[in-house]
C-alpha cells in the first residue's frame, strides 16, 4: 500500500505546480505547466528515449564497475593491516577533491563518448561502496574469528566464509548510496562535454529555450533514478536478509 502514498504525493505535487503556473502566470519559457511538459514528453518521446538509453547504459556500467572495484578494494584493505594503514588515509584524502571538478579533465582524457561519463560515475560511487563494505568487514564479531581459527581456517577461508557474508548488509548500504549517486555522475559528465544522453539533451533544450523539453528530460532522469534506486533497494534488501538468516 506504500506505493499509493507515493502516487498521492506525486498528484499533490503536480496540482501544486499547475496552480503556481496559473496564479503567477509565469511565461512558458520560465516554468511550463505540467500539461505542457507532458505534451513535450509525448511529442519528443523518440528523442528522449534515445538519449535516455545512453544515460541508462552509462549508469548501469558505472554502477557495476564502481561496485566491483569498491568491493574488491574493501576486501583487500580488510585483508591486510599494512595496506589498510597505507591506503585508507590516501582514500580519505582523495575525497577532499570534489569529484565534479574532475569532469573537464575526464572529458579531456576519455573523450566526449560514454567512457568519461562512466569513469565519472565510477569515481563518485567508488569511495562510498569501499568505505561501507570495509566498515562491515572490519566489524565482524571477534568471537567468530577466534572460533574459525581454532577450527584451523586460514585468513582467506575466514574472509570468504565468514567476513564477506557477514558484511553483506554494509555492502547493501553502499549499494543504496551508489544507486543515487551514479546518475548524478553520469549527467554531470554529460553536461561538461558530450553529444548524447539526458544531460546533453537538457543543455540543448535549454539553449533553444525549449524549457518544456528540458523539464521532460529532467523528469525522465528522475524516473530512471527512482527505478534504479528501487531495483537496487530490492537487491540490497535481499543481501541483508540473507546475511541475517531471514530468508527461508
Amino acid at each position: 500500500m506504500r506505493w499509493l502514498y507515493g502516487v498521492a504525493a506525486m498528484v499533490v505535487g503536480l496540482v501544486l505546480w499547475q496552480t503556481i503556473v496559473w496564479i503567477t502566470g509565469v511565461p512558458k519559457f520560465i516554468l511550463p505547466s505540467p500539461l505542457q511538459v507532458a505534451e513535450a514528453a509525448y511529442t519528443s518521446r523518440a528523442l528522449i528515449a534515445e538519449h535516455a538509453m545512453v544515460t541508462i547504459t552509462e549508469v548501469i556500467i558505472g554502477l557495476l564497475i564502481g561496485t566491483v572495484l569498491g568491493a574488491v578494494t574493501a576486501i583487500q584493505l580488510a585483508s591486510s593491516q599494512t595496506l589498510q594503514r597505507l591506503m585508507l588515509p590516501i582514500l580519505v584524502f582523495t575525497q577532499a577533491v570534489p569529484v565534479f571538478a574532475l569532469a573537464p579533465i575526464l572529458t579531456l582524457w576519455f573523450g566526449y563518448g560514454m567512457a568519461s561519463k562512466i569513469v565519472m560515475a565510477v569515481l563518485i560511487i567508488y569511495f562510498p561502496v569501499t568505505s561501507a563494505f570495509h566498515d562491515g568487514l572490519s566489524r565482524v564479531d571477534t568471537g567468530l574469528i577466534d572460533l574459525a581459527r581454532t577450527m584451523g581456517a586460514t585468513k582467506h577461508q575466514i574472509m570468504r566464509r565468514i567476513r564477506i557474508p557477514h558484511a553483506l548488509p554494509s555492502l547493501a548500504t553502499g549499494l543504496r548510496l551508489a544507486a543515487v549517486y551514479t546518475p548524478i555522475g553520469a549527467v554531470i559528465g554529460e553536461w561538461v562535454g558530450s553529444s548524447e544522453g539526458l544531460g546533453y539533451l537538457m543543455l540543448l533544450a535549454s539553449g533553444r529555450v525549449k524549457i518544456d523539453l528540458m523539464f521532460a528530460s529532467l523528469i525522465t532522469l528522475a524516473i530512471i533514478t527512482v527505478i534504479l534506486h528501487t531495483a537496487v533497494g530490492i537487491l540490497a534488501d535481499r543481501l541483508s536478509r540473507y546475511s541475517q538468516g531471514l530468508t527461508s
Binding site: 577466534d146 577450527m151 538468516g245 531471514l246
Partner: protein
Amino acid sequence: MNEAPSITLQGSHAIDGRTLFDGITLTLPAAEWTCLLGPSGVGKSTILRLILGLDTAGTFTGSIEASDAKPLDNRISYMAQSDLLLPWLTVLENAVLGARLRDEKPDLDRAQTLLARVGLSDYQTKKPATLSGGMRQRAALARTLMEDRPIVLLDEPFSALDAGTRADMQELAAEVLTGKTVMLVTHDPGEAARMAHQIVLLTPSEAKHWPVPPIPPIRPVDAPETLSAQSELLAHMRGFRA
C-alpha cells in the same frame, strides 16, 4: 578419536608490565572436567586463549604442554558464551562449519546423528534466528562435537541460558563430552559443584584446588553434596571481593 591427554600450563602473564598472574601451575587431568573459577579480570579467559593458541593482550612466559608431548594445534575445540552460529547458514550447515571453513567435504551423516543426539533433528534446515537460546547453544554443542577433538575448552557456555535450560545443557554436555579433557570457565559455583572432577580457583598468585563433592559428576542439582559445595564455594568467592 585419539586418546585425550592431560594438559599442564605453567607460567606468568603480564600486560604492559602489569602482572595478571604469576608463576601458576594449572593441570587439566586427562578425560576429566576441570572447572576454572575466579573473580573477573583474574585471567581465566586469558588462560583459555593461551591454551587455544589465540592472541592475548600482553605476554605469556612459561609453557603449555600435553601429557603425550604432541603439539596442541588442531586438537582443541572451543565453545563460547555466545553460540557464534552463522545466521545465514542452517543448523546443519552450522554444525559442519569446521569442514566448510577448511574447504573439506562435510560429513553430513555424522552431523545429522550428532544433531539428533542434542535433540535438534527437526531443526536441521532451520536458520539460527528461528531457534531459542537453549536450542542455539545445543547447535553450538553439536558443532563442537563435530570437530571430534580430544580437548574441549568451554567459556561460560551456559551462562546466558535460563536456569532450567542451563541444568539440561549441563547434563547433555557432560554426557556427550565424556572421555574428553574439558576445561570449563565459569562464574557459577553451582555449575562447578555439579560438573567438576576438579575445581580450580584462580588468583593472581596461584591456581588453587578446591575440594570437589564426594559423589562423581554429573551430580544432581538437589544432592546435599552439590548444594553444600555450592554454598561453601560461593561463601569463599564472596570473601575474594571483601
